[in-house]
């Protein structure tokens, strides 16, 4: 049984069709990387999962329960948390208050303030500061921590590495590995292909709202990814066995 199942979703960004009957599954415990160029539909896909956008057609299932029409804050209660692109921290609130906001859904689990502080010791040192004064890397850590405080079964991450120094990105991805090891399923949307593919155990490449390539990262050749990413041939000629929508 898939944890998350997008079943033929179609979505529009304004008048532009951003997703074309997209189907995908995320299994519990997996780290799925969704890569693709700007405008490929990655963020739109996340909006459908987080509930900020409703598909024109198709359905969204979480644990086989149809959640297509459920509001974002109720999806958090059901175990989906999104770390949005640009972090969207509460800049006027302290770091600790930011984290505590993540407990609004009252989901039980292993993540709490202590666990987040242990994962990100730098965040603990800054816990009394307003979130707005933190560095980019610290803010991203707080954003991830805030999402973890809701004890999600599925953690969605939109461009975690955007605008951060390589050394900071490395630390964040190390933290993501530990989060996954704790049993949280991850769905990473990234333009930073290298890091994403290194951590993921399955990857999907979107191009113009369609899946053009998928497979285990090791099975995807560099030229195939490049073709899929930039749309040179727009075929899934990687040789990897597609997982498909079973």
């Amino acid at each position: 049984m898939a944890l998350l199942h997008l079943d033929g979703v179609t979505a529009y960004y304004g008048h532009l069709q951003a997703l074309h009957e997209l189907s995908l599954q995320v299994d519990a415990g997996e780290i799925l990387a969704v890569i693709g160029a700007n405008g490929a539909g990655k963020s739109t896909m996340l909006s459908l999962i987080s509930g900020e956008l409703r598909p024109r057609e198709g359905r969204v299932y979480l644990n086989d329960v149809d959640i297509t029409r459920i509001a974002p804050h109720q999806r958090v209660r059901r175990g989906i948390a999104l770390v949005p692109e640009g972090r969207h921290l509460f800049g006027t609130l302290t770091v600790e208050d930011n984290l505590l906001c993540g407990t609004a859904s009252k989901r039980p689990g292993t993540w709490n303030l202590d666990a987040v502080y242990e994962l990100f010791p730098l965040v603990k040192a800054r816990r009394k500061h307003r979130a707005a004064v933190l560095s980019g890397g610290e803010q991203q850590a707080v954003a991830i921590g805030r999402a973890l405080m809701s004890n999600p079964s599925l953690l969605l991450l939109d461009e975690v590495s955007l605008g951060l120094a390589p050394v900071v990105i490395k630390d964040l991805y190390e933290a993501l590995r530990r989060i996954a090891a704790e049993g949280t399923t991850l769905l990473l949307v990234e333009q930073n292909i290298t890091e994403a593919l290194r951590v993921a155990n399955y990857a999907i490449c979107l191009l113009e709202g369609r899946v053009v390539l998928e497979g285990e990262p090791a099975s995807l050749s560099q030229p195939a990814i490049s073709d899929a990413y930039f749309g040179n041939k727009a075929t899934s000629g990687s040789g990897a066995k597609p997982k498909g929508a079973s």
Partner: protein, 291 residues
Amino acid sequence: MIWTNAVIQGLLLGGLYAIFACGLSLMFGVMRLVNLAHGDLGVLAAYFSIILVEHLGGNPLWTFAAVIPVAAILGYFLQRFLLDHALNGGELSPILVTFGLSIIIENLLQQTFGANDQSLNIGALSYQSWKLASDIYVGRLNVIIFFIAVLVIVGLQLFLSKTAAGRALRATADNRRAAALSGIDPKRTRALATAIALATVAVGGLFLAMRTSFAPTSGSADLLFAFEAVIIGGLGNLWGTLVGGLVLGIAQTVGSQINPADGILIGDLVFLAVLAFRPQGLIASRNVAIR
């Protein structure tokens, strides 16, 4: 000495403005909604108190216990069934809807109670005073109002900073999208903000009615003073709203001391001066609770 007296009387008046204004500030902070019916809702609370006293008797002071919860419940449903829909209709519709609500309340009150001035008679408390110095007397009611104003704002501030519901309000005020993505229910949070706003404006309305006379159309002037207090203090900042109320009160009474007809005008001029020279308000929003 007359100037000291004017400042003290202004300070006391300012407390009342602060109570009136804090709900306006809260609603604007949480949902960027300017409630043009805010003053009228305060006046509505005062009329409700009059009805209660008429039918049940006693000193109007007891009606606080009934009016505050009713106002809070009204606020909750007002948000759920009217203002939430208005917020979905673009930037202009909340203004039109609350303006319409203001007109409806004023006319309903006029229809029911007539246009005459009314007041809540609280007996001796309305004229008793304390002597501060040889020629400075402060009305007991005014002092009580002042301290309750400070209490209301301190209480609200504590609620916002110490409780989970308060945190949800601050988070929603800061970033609506992120609040929903963190699992905070936006509808519940907005309804809570409006419930608190109406409870506080009901307190303000009752105090105003005990202090001076009022009529169905008094709400518009009250709204104006509340606005001025909010802007002078700094938008979406409760301490600022308290300071703004006090500054406005002092400006008005000192102005009246200069020329009895010019009190309100001087208050307006101080408000305009703040808008011109310090548009962010007197209390800069560094440690804001709501913004």
